[in-house]
């Protein structure tokens, strides 16, 4: 995490990959009623929160209590918000259960909805890094932007994604 906060992409990627299975287990243990997809959405919320609040971790403090506090807050928050939505619409809930059976459990639904609301270019950049695993230089060359501009655009896109998801589950 220390390396990640200094801009080491590889170290940060390794860290996120390492904590994801642990977080997934926590989310699933608490929210079995949401179905695997719903849980994955919550997990993605937690990851986004870790990312957007990573500067609130003190470098000399142990990482675990910080991670746990972030995850706990986000999980409680997400279940509270989604619990309310389930009460409002039973159909929504049934649909979620039906869809859960056939699809990849590591796939969330909320993200696609959010990406479609984003500015096309911003969504394109997020997809480029995520789905296609492009590097900054490759994306910059393909979209005819400078590397710095791509970096800023990605940063802004992730910020608006976090904000949009927040609004969506309210």
């Amino acid at each position: 995490m220390r390396a990640a906060n200094r801009g080491d992409t590889m170290a940060y990627h390794r860290l996120l990959m390492a904590i994801t299975p642990v977080l997934r287990k926590v989310v699933r243990a608490r929210g079995a009623a949401l179905g695997p997809e719903g849980c994955e959405d919550v997990l993605q919320d937690v990851l986004l929160a870790i990312h957007s609040k990573r500067h609130t971790w003190h470098e000399d403090a142990p990482l675990r209590p910080w991670l746990y506090a972030i995850a706990r807050h986000k999980v409680v928050d997400a279940f509270r918000a989604r619990g309310r939505r389930v009460e409002v619409s039973i159909d929504d809930f049934a649909e979620g259960l039906a869809a859960a059976a056939g699809s990849d459990p590591a796939e969330g639904r909320d993200m696609e909805k959010v990406l479609s609301k984003l500015e096309p270019r911003a969504a394109e950049i997020v997809r480029a890094f995520g789905l296609n695993g492009e590097t900054t230089a490759e994306t910059a060359a393909r979209l005819d932007m400078s590397e710095g501009a791509v970096r800023v655009a990605l940063h802004r896109a992730l910020k608006s994604i976090a904000r949009l998801r927040e609004r969506m589950i309210e």
Partner: protein, 210 residues
């Protein structure tokens, strides 16, 4: 979108974010400038300001600032998850209790009649309106500054931001206020700061959400 893909996108975003303390500090400095400017234009210091600052009346300025320091430390601890904030909360609570105790002693000494006569002055309304007015830019700055953090207790954090804002505003206002009786200053300033804290507690859950 798959979680693994999201992780790749997150890892690619290496833009650093400024520490919360830095954002809060710069926002508060700007707001203090705004409040001081407003104070200079609409209020202005009392005529005997230098004599007052040399007497025990200087406590009207220093005590609110002590509250501000402890409230700042507590608020900053609260927006850093996993950071122990209990001791800072206790220190702040102890100072509040000390102020309440001082008021009780003053009240016991002069009785209710003394309290009523101390508060029966047009200065009371001026005080109750001026401190929240001076606190407005400060409260906005404090809550905005803290919003880049991650508060797990947004209502309490908002109220603490209100204490920071109200405390600075009270310290500024005290340069104008020419009533130095304890039975006036303690209840009037506390009520005025309490109003700002209430506003902070109401704004907190909305603005400090993440």
């Amino acid at each position: 979108m798959k979680t693994e893909d999201l992780i790749s996108a997150l890892a690619a975003d290496t833009m650093p974010r400024a520490p919360v303390g830095q954002q809060l500090g710069s926002a508060l400095l700007v707001a203090i400038g705004v409040s001081l400017a407003a104070f200079a234009v609409f209020w202005g210091p009392r005529p005997d300001i230098w004599a007052a600052l040399g007497s025990f009346a200087v406590l009207k300025t220093l005590v609110p600032l002590a509250f501000v320091l402890l409230a700042l430390a507590f608020a900053l601890a609260m927006v850093h998850p996993g950071f122990p904030h209990k001791r800072r909360g206790t220190a702040l609570g102890a100072l509040i209790a000390l102020a309440a105790l001082t008021f009780m002693i003053a009240l016991a000494r002069e009785g209710q009649v003394g309290l009523v006569s101390a508060l029966s002055t047009p200065s009371l309304v001026t005080c109750l309106l001026s401190i929240p007015a001076l606190a407005m830019p400060l409260l906005a700055a404090a809550i905005w500054g803290l919003s880049s953090g991650a508060s797990t207790r947004p209502r309490l954090t908002g109220a603490t931001a209100g204490l920071v804002a109200g405390g600075v505003a009270a310290a500024i206002y005290s340069l104008y206020c020419d009533k130095d009786m304890m039975l006036f200053v303690l209840p009037a300033y506390a009520t005025a700061i309490g109003t700002v804290m209430l506003a902070g507690a109401l704004l907190g859950p909305r603005i400090l959400k993440w």
